[in-house]
């Protein structure tokens, strides 16, 4: 086997109020995929930002290919053969796929961009790695998944020796994930040094040769042979406690039909859609990327204009005309894209939690109750184990997963809840917190609410739902009870018609 190509030696990074990395050392070998795991806020992304030249470490050394390196900018890291795919996607929405992929190194002649060459280059290389994207499409016109794929291609096409992936699959679904896995395997075969961060253990087992586990900015353990590490060890290393059944599903008696959606139609759907949810029910929505799940829920929530259809709650037509009307009716939606639709980046953690639910407790309908708000914020920070120095920290300074927790808290804090819609709620969230969120989902359901969970993680959908609706290309392609919802059954409903059952089985296997 090759020797360690990349070495972190006692690397530390301190932010105001947070010791993000505290003397971390480990090595990654060429021709291997080295997994990084750890709770939200454990310091994984910070490490990659140091590797990518975005941050300078406050202590320690970085050795690449036997040479000690000190990067003062991202450009330095790129020059040293390092490519990083960051957790927060970093693309230019107004530029095309080709321009984004080649940003910083557009092919040129006397300063002029050789557009044809750029387009051609990107088209062929994308085809080679099996990604089907139009090089001329602008990023702003693509779905998040597609943007994520562009980011991946940008890094991969740098032909760097070291490639680091920070939760690349968090916004991908099966199709792209499959492409990505193939890509990672190919890169490994070429002898590249790969670092791979994910909260999905299955994924890590599939891809990684070795792994290092972080907790609170420290390295807890390095396991040189991934396959030999039991799942329980990983979890307890990471969370500091045992977790048996992370879904913690509890059967519960379902009440009457509470939410009824009839003939809802809007821009991204192919036909009017109808479904209903019973009181106390957790309804899972599964589908491939672009299947229209988010779109459907946005129509329900009034976030996008609907062309027809109605929404009834407890037998009364509510059909909200906008999010604020929906919230007043007791319907809330936790959106899928936390950066664009979720966080108020400049505001504090407390503010992000209280923004909506505070309206129930105002003095004279106008003035805030600071103490109540602070108490609520602190309670959720504790309960969801949000890693933040205090509730006044700006949310943008939190790690990705912790931001997600804060946004979830915003909706869980809602007192008049009747329908809770969660769009990819556990995206980027660690196992421990996932478990906590599933607990809350069950609690909410037990209190008589309807819970709708959109997820692209099949095990998750199957693990927590009483019933699963599967969507495909803007239509509902099927509905399965918990008992009937096997992976194969769900996938065969989700995949395009021409795909055979066999493919579904192949993926599941």
């Amino acid at each position: 086997m090759s020797s360690a190509y990349l070495q972190f030696d006692q690397v530390s990074k301190i932010f105001p109020g947070v010791k993000a990395l505290n003397g971390v050392s480990f090595e990654a070998r060429a021709g291997q995929v080295h997994g990084l795991l750890g709770e939200n806020g454990a310091g994984k992304s910070t490490l990659l930002k140091i590797l990518g030249g975005q941050y300078r470490p406050d202590g320690g050394r970085l050795v690449v290919g036997g040479q000690e390196r000190h990067f003062s900018s991202a450009a330095d890291a790129i020059a040293a053969g390092i490519a990083v795919i960051h957790q927060e996607l970093q693309y230019v929405p107004e530029l095309t796929v080709a321009e984004n992929v080649l940003l910083g190194r557009l092919p040129q002649r006397f300063g002029f961009v050789n557009k044809a060459a750029a387009r051609q280059l990107v088209r062929t290389r994308l085809a080679e790695i099996g990604v089907d994207l139009d090089p001329d499409a602008r990023l702003m016109d693509l779905s998040i998944a597609q943007r994520q794929m562009v980011e991946i291609c940008k890094a991969v096409l740098q032909d760097a020796q070291v490639i680091a992936f920070d939760e690349p699959t968090s916004s991908l679904s099966h199709r792209e994930t499959e492409v990505l896995f193939k890509l990672v395997a190919d890169l490994r075969a070429q002898g590249r040094t790969l670092i791979y961060i994910s909260h999905r253990l299955e994924e890590l087992y599939t891809l990684c040769d070795a792994c290092t586990i972080f907790r609170d900015g420290r390295k807890v353990a390095t396991h040189p042979v991934m396959a030999e590490v039991p799942r329980e060890t990983l979890i307890s290393d990471m969370v500091g406690r045992e977790l048996n059944d992370i879904y913690g599903y509890r059967a519960r008696p379902l009440g009457d039909e509470r939410l009824k959606v009839t003939g809802l139609h809007g821009a991204a759907l192919r036909e009017p859609l109808s479904f209903s949810v019973r009181s106390g029910e957790v309804l899972g929505f599964f589908g491939l990327v672009g299947a229209g799940r988010s779109e459907l829920m946005r129509l329900l929530y009034g976030a996008d204009p609907r062309s027809q259809g109605q929404v009834a709650l407890d037998g009364q037509v509510v059909s909200p005309r906008g999010p604020s009307a929906a919230i007043d009716a007791g319907i809330v939606l936790c959106p899928e894209d936390r950066k664009e639709q979720g966080i108020l980046a400049e505001s504090s953690v407390a503010e992000n939690i209280n923004i909506s639910c505070r309206r129930h407790e105002l003095l004279g309908g106008l003035f805030l109750r600071h103490r109540k708000e602070a108490a609520r914020a602190d309670a959720f920070i504790r309960r969801l184990r949000v890693k933040t120095p205090n509730r006044e920290q700006e949310i943008r300074l939190l790690s990705g997963g912790n931001q997600q927790k804060v946004i979830l808290a915003r909706w869980l804090a809602e007192p008049g809840l009747k329908v809770l819609i969660l769009d990819e709620p556990t995206r980027g969230i660690d196992v421990g917190a996932k478990n906590e969120i599933y607990q809350i989902i069950h609690e909410v359901a037990e209190s008589g609410c309807c819970v709708i969970v959109i997820s692209s993680e099949l095990p998750e959908v199957l693990g927590i739902s009483d019933r699963v609706i599967v969507m495909r290309e803007g239509r509902i392609s099927g509905e399965l009870s918990r008992a009937a919802a096997s992976e194969t059954a769900v996938l065969s409903l989700a995949l395009p018609d021409m795909q055979t059952q066999a493919t579904a089985q192949a993926i599941t296997a």
């Binding site: 999010p323 639709q341 309670a379 184990r385």
Partner: protein, 339 residues
């Protein structure tokens, strides 16, 4: 209704926020410095000037200084909200002129101070609401929309006054500009009241918080139930009313409604806000910063006049001092910056 609002006790597991104490202290200090550096800077400047510039630290001069920034101060309060919500308003200068002219004309025709003030404020409200509707509902770019209103309102001011200053004879109206209470002229007290009211509005009400929210991320705010469009209209409407009030006060101080007054006023107000740390990209505003920004602007001018600085060199000095102020502010945030 459910247990969610009172988080369960199971969650008390020994805290995830493990930050050691030292850096936390550090960050508190830094945050404090961050919050107050401008104020400290201004205080320092003030002390230095008090000792070095003759006549600066006298009751008469300080009152004069405050009076000179009273209008800017009032409008800066609402401009702060406007910028905080990621908007922009170029029409305030024209609105000042128009409301002053209109008030003077109404006063001339009806002899009623009440009608004059009411008319002026109503005009301001309509202009503001118009801006708001254009920007929030018709989605016109704020720069262009308020540039258009700026032109139109200025035109109206000229048209209704036939381009002439409209004299004001009413004693009670005029006296508003120079009556003193507790030694302070009324305009200064009104400006102070604005700072208090809008400070409370920004920090202690839903209105203020939602304003920051739509400035920080309009889409997220909308999905969180904020009625973005309505709020925007309200912000502009408020801005219009306060600006009209400033216009009426100015008219009373200069005993006439002047259709060409307050040209370039918008830039002064926006600059004061930005100097006070309000972000043009929205989502960030501090009323105290705005107050300091306004005072800096006023002090610079005051001192240059006290020192009899040549008109041409005043340009140079004003530029230099602006730069010095932001650079100072920059210096201390340097460490705190991302890298």
């Amino acid at each position: 209704m459910n247990t969610l609002t009172t988080p369960s006790s199971s969650s008390t597991s020994p805290s995830t926020s493990t930050a050691s104490d030292r850096p936390a202290m550090n960050s508190k200090h830094r945050a404090w410095l961050n919050e107050h550096s401008m104020t400290l800077g201004y205080a320092l400047l003030f002390v230095v000037l008090a000792f070095s510039v003759e006549n600066f630290f006298s009751a008469a001069n300080i009152v004069g200084l405050m009076l000179s920034v009273a209008q800017i101060g009032m409008v800066a309060c609402t401009m702060m909200l406007c910028l905080a919500s990621r908007d922009f308003d170029l029409s305030v200068g024209s609105t000042i002129a128009f409301s002053g002219v209109l008030g003077a004309i109404i006063l001339e025709r009806t002899q009623s101070v009440g009608l004059a003030i009411g008319g002026g404020l109503l005009a301001g409200a309509l202009i503001g609401a118009g801006n708001g509707v254009l920007i929030a509902y018709l989605r016109v770019n704020a720069l262009i929309a308020t540039l258009a209103t700026m032109l139109m309102v200025r035109g109206l001011a000229f048209i209704v006054s036939k381009g002439q200053a409209v004299g004001i004879a009413d004693e009670s109206f005029i006296s508003f500009g120079d009556t003193r209470l507790f030694g302070l002229p009324l305009p200064v007290l009104v400006a102070a009241a604005c700072f208090v009211v809008f400070g409370v509005l920004l920090n202690h009400t839903v209105f203020g918080r939602n304003t920051l929210a739509i400035g920080g991320n309009p889409e997220a705010a909308r999905l969180a139930g904020v009625k973005v469009e309505k709020l925007r209209v309200w912000i502009f409407l408020l801005q219009g009313v306060v600006t009209a009030m400033a216009g009426l006060i100015l008219a009373s101080r200069i005993t006439s409604g002047q259709p060409n007054s307050a040209q370039g006023f918008e830039l002064d107000v926006i600059s004061a806000c930005v100097l006070g740390g309000v972000s043009l990209l929205g989502g960030r505003a501090r009323i105290f910063g705005v107050l300091i920004g306004v005072l800096i602007m006023g002090t610079v001018e005051n001192v240059m006049n006290l020192l009899d600085v040549d008109a041409f060199y005043q340009y140079l000095m004003r530029g230099l001092i602006l730069l010095a102020a932001v650079l100072l502010d920059q210096l201390k945030t340097r460490g705190a910056a991302r890298r």
